[in-house]
Every structure is written in structure tokens, then in C-alpha cells.
Symmetry: C2
Subunit: 348 residues, 2 copies
């Protein structure tokens, strides 16, 4: 059972893998498996993952067999383990609890070579539906305080498998970053009785210069204090504090904006490694006047070094106004058209 | 002039390079220059850096010429710029100031191929003397609130030049990480009237299992909630809040423990890329009862991915007790002996 240990100095928790501890030699070659090698996420290899917890599949197909389009399975090497109680305790001046939580993987499609943004609109929509279903289900477990949904794509962004996937981790504590965001947003609300994110949207829509793309229900912006070059945030235009509370009729627009932004990044930056993270309200607080859920997309173009680690502030060599303009000016009509053609061919 | 922009949501500052903004193509090949290429830090190339602000050199030699052993120069591509006032201002709901600060580079030796831990004891001591001198000098500038000293070694740790060096950045705001540490330490002090770091040392010395190395004035431990495999902290055994307040007679011991720990990491992990960061008190608070200066050394063996970015908590696959035991058990006598032999040969 992994341990959750708290820094005695600040609100920082670390998951320590006490059982299969890595020795020095284990770090020598931490690389993606070679291209073309065996992939447990591919069609036909369903028995190489733990049994699925959710799948959208052909009604005639069987669980853990071929015939699915989106599939969610427990992580075979989970950071946190699902069984047991937290068993919080002290160790002298230190604090720890058992590493209880959920760690699931959403496999975006049976196709090894297709990243999310190259799937059809309806397929991407179904991915977000599946994430919503898992969030709603995991929130029913009273041991969990936060559901973290994130994607690592590319080795530099920390992906350990090439086949495109999204991870879902349910944690027994609210993570530090979420607490900071919630606290900052609450401070603004207490002062002004307005959501800080709604205020940001108001200014960005008026100024236009940091907008990347917009549709009826969502907007993509380069944030004013972007930490990373080409960092892009996707936010619902109306105030909603939890991802899974998003009105069902907005999901096609969510799929549209995520595909659109990721395609723009691919064109501008030649398919960069990237992370995206869904920032949402904690499990037991679905409706907050002061918090606004959103997705932060971060291409990994620069390395985080001693300065960032030591200071917690960042050096960004690309002003967000420049990044937004470059991304906004891309003509993705052609790419999208080609993509649709491809889908038609596939569907035949 | 770079801009310092504050996140409207939380206490996070970003340095935005507004002038020489990087375009997409600039990120394509962000690699170290090839081995054996031109190096501006090498002996004989003194005119390829800005003029030195400090150098320990042969009394017969001239500034910015050969004959030095340790040399500090302004960074040719500074993250912050030394001239001007902060000019704090708002931009709608956003906050910013001009990117005023100092950014210096300490070149550890004229020898391109020698990392800090392979230099002689007295040479390493002189490096820390030079850092102390620069800290004392920069603290006299009332615009600066914090002096951040850090080292990136190896491409994965963010080094942009191969020749071993340390960076010094003076910032006009106290960085977020420092505020968090100071706040957490103060909370403990207010509760118990004891320094949290002194408490940590007391428990670690009693338990022994996380000690890596110790000499008369310093101790190296694997911290209880280590974020990274083989993360190691070096702390003075007695309470001192600012690095530059360290008694002068302790510097040989500081050089000894830093060399010792870095050599152990090199042997255990085959010369891993690493960062180290001096954590010290802010400029105008040299004597704090609640804060204890220390150095955090972080080998870069794992990649920080979406989970860490989204949560601010970390997954560490090597329990610190295992890391400390592996490092402690290394017999570095032989390595040190060889090293001394080499020095003798050089001195002849």
C-alpha cells in the first residue's frame, strides 16, 4: 500500500511507493516502449488490462472484448489503491495516511495512432461523456475529496504509453494546487461578490487580444500570466463550478473547442508534447459561486529548471498575446476538412 | 524590459519576455550546444561574457582575462534586468510590474569538463565564499526582496550550457515557494516556539534511517516527504536563518558535505542531471527564529507530468529511507582518494 506523506513545513503531500520502490538501476532507461511494440490499450488486447469499469461498445460485443470505442480501466500500476481506509497517523513530527484512492485510465479509441484531436467530433464528445460518468461515480465514494482528470501526451509530457489516453485520479485530500485556486477565487468573491473567472472572461472578451477560439458555450484564451509558451485555457462562458455539472447540451461544443485548440497547437508547434488538466471544484462542493471549472492545456516546450523549482514562479519566453495571435491566425478549415474526409472513408 | 505578471487567481508570478518573444520555430531545437563546441565560460574566452562582477584570480592577472579560479558575471540573457524602477501598475483586473532584478552566473572553474563535486575541497569552499559575497552585495539593493541561488546541471535539469555553473537571481518580490515555506515554518513556531527545521533535525538524528552523511556543522538527509527519488537536503546543524550569516569557519564543512553528497549521487545514479537550490530567508529578514536555511538537491530521474502540475503533489517511487540507505552505504573513500591524486598531479 503506497503512503501519503505530508511535508512538515507546508501543505504538500507526496505519494511514496513503499512496496515496489525503485532502485538506482530502474531509472537508467525510463523511456517509452519502442514504436510498433506490444500495446495493452490496442484493440484485441483487452485481457492485458484490468477489467473495464466503463466502456462504450457495440451492443452485441462482450465486456473486455473487442467492439468498444471508448474504454475506462483501472490503472495496472496505480499511484493510489482503491481498497481500505485512510488510517491517518503521526510519526513523530510527521503526518501520513495510507495511499487510498482511485487511479483509472480512459483509452480514447482502439486506434493506436490517433490522438484525441484527430478523432471525429462525436467520438471526442463521447470521451467527455465517459469522463463525466466516471467523475459522477467516483464522487459517490465518501473517502474521496477531489477527482483529478489529466492527459499526458508525448514522452516529454510524462506519457509512459504512446496510445492516447486520459487519466483519472481520485484523491483522499484536496490537492495543494486546487486549494490555492479555490482560496484565491474565494478571496476575490468575498471582496467583490463576483467570480474571478467570470471577471477574466469579461475582460478577455472586451480586449480580444488573448482569445484563441470561441464557440457558443466555451472560450479558449492564452491566460494573462501564462506560465508556459502557448499555454491555453478553455472555459465555459457561463458560470459553472464543476465539470460534471456542465449542461448535457454543451458537450458537442466542448468537443469542438478541445479539438480545435489542440489542432491549432499541433499545426503551430508541430505536434508538441502536452498536458491538459481539468480544474474543477472538490467532491463535496459541486456548486460554488466563486469557482469556475476549466481546462488548462500546457504544451511542453521548455524545461522546468532550478529557478522554477526554487521560486514557484516561471519564465515564459512567449508573451501570451503573441501566442494567442499565432494560434488564432491559423486556418484550420483545411485540416478539419481533410480530417472529415478521412472519417468518411473510415466509416465506409 | 521583461514584465512580471501576477496570476489574478493566486500568488503566482510569471516573468514574460516581452521583447525577444520566442516564436514557434524557436522551440524546435532547444538542445545543449554540441560537445566540444565554443564555450563562453572557458579559460581564454573571458571577453565573450559581460564584464565580471567578482572573480578570485591570480593577483598578477587582469580583470576579464585569464588567471581566475571562480568568476561571477551578469547573465548575457537575463531573465530580469538590472536597470530601472518597478513601476507597479494594474491592467484591468490584472497586476504587473517591470521585470527588474539581477541575474548573474557563477562560473565554478576555468575547466570545462569538471563539475563542482570533482573540484578540490578548497576550490569548492571558494565557490561558496563567492556566493556569499554576491548575496551580501545584492541584498544592499533595496529593490530586491529575495536572492535565489540555484544550479542546473545536465540538459534534463534545464542547463543551457555544459560548463558547470551556478545562477544567482535577485527578485523584486518574495517567490511563492519561499512564502509558503516561511509561512509554514512561522505557523509551527507560533504554535510551539520551536523552529520546525530544528525539530526535523532532532527526529532525524534520533531515528538515523534518513541520514545520508554528516560532519561537524552540517547534515544531509533524505526528507520524510521527498518529492523526488534520491532528493537530499543539506542543513546546518545549528539554527541559522540566512545562508550568508553562516559562520565563516563552517565553510570548509559546507564544501565537504556538498562534495560528499554530490559524489554519492554520481556513484549511485551514474552522474544524474540535478538541480540544487539554496533556501534562505528574504533580504530584509536576516535573523528569523522560525526559519533555517538549507540546500535542496534534486536529481532529475522522473518526469513531472499532468498529475503533478494539476495537483501540486508528487509521486515518488523511491522511499526516502531506501534512498538514504543506498547513498549512505556507498564507500566514497576510494573515489575521494582518486580525486585527491588527480588534484596533486594538476597542482604539479
Amino acid at each position: 500500500m503506497p503512503e501519503l506523506r505530508k511535508s512538515p513545513i507546508m501543505e504538500r503531500w507526496v505519494i511514496i511507493s513503499t512496496e515496489r520502490g525503485k532502485r538506482p538501476d530502474d531509472f537508467k532507461r525510463e523511456k517509452l516502449p519502442p514504436k510498433g511494440g506490444f500495446c495493452p490499450f490496442c484493440n484485441g488486447n483487452e485481457d492485458k488490462t484490468p477489467p473495464e469499469v466503463l466502456a462504450y461498445r457495440d451492443p452485441k460485443s462482450l465486456p473486455d472484448k473487442e467492439g468498444w470505442s471508448v474504454r475506462v480501466v483501472p490503472n495496472k500500476f496505480p499511484a493510489l489503491q482503491i481498497e481500505g481506509d485512510l488510517d491517518k497517523r503521526g510519526d513523530g513530527i510527521y503526518d501520513m495516511m495510507r495511499g487510498v484512492g482511485a487511479h483509472e485510465v480512459l483509452i480514447e479509441s482502439p486506434d493506436h495512432s490517433k490522438n484525441l484531436q484527430y478523432l471525429s467530433d462525436s467520438h471526442v464528445e463521447s470521451i467527455f461523456w465517459a469522463l463525466r460518468e466516471r467523475c459522477l461515480d467516483l464522487k459517490r465514494d465518501s473517502r474521496f475529496r477531489y477527482i483529478l482528470v489529466f492527459k499526458n501526451w508525448g514522452e516529454e509530457a510524462g506519457a509512459s504509453l504512446e496510445h492516447s489516453h486520459i487519466q483519472i485520479i481520485a484523491t483522499p485530500i484536496i490537492p495543494k494546487r486546487a486549494i490555492e485556486e479555490l482560496t484565491g477565487a474565494k478571496f476575490h468573491y468575498d471582496l467583490k461578490e463576483r467570480c474571478i473567472f467570470c471577471d477574466i472572461l469579461m475582460q478577455e472578451i472586451k480586449e480580444e487580444k488573448r482569445i484563441v477560439y470561441q464557440n457558443d458555450h466555451f472560450i479558449a484564451i492564452a491566460p494573462y500570466a501564462a506560465r508556459f509558451p502557448f499555454e491555453t485555457w478553455v472555459l465555459p462562458l457561463k458560470h459553472i463550478s464543476a465539470f460534471e455539472q456542465t449542461p448535457t447540451e454543451w458537450f458537442p461544443q466542448l468537443a469542438d473547442i478541445m479539438k480545435n485548440v489542440l489542432l491549432r497547437l499541433d499545426i503551430a508547434l508541430d505536434e508538441p508534447p502536452f498536458n491538459f488538466i481539468i480544474h474543477t471544484s472538490p467532491c463535496n462542493q459541486p456548486d460554488l459561486d466563486y469557482y469556475h471549472w476549466h481546462i488548462e492545456i500546457m504544451p511542453k516546450l521548455t524545461r522546468v529548471a532550478g529557478f522554477e523549482w526554487g521560486s514557484g514562479f516561471y519564465i515564459n519566453p512567449t508573451p501570451p498575446e503573441d501566442a494567442a495571435r499565432i494560434l488564432r491566425d491559423i486556418d484550420i478549415e483545411l485540416v478539419t476538412a481533410n480530417n472529415k474526409e478521412e472519417q468518411k472513408v473510415e466509416e465506409k
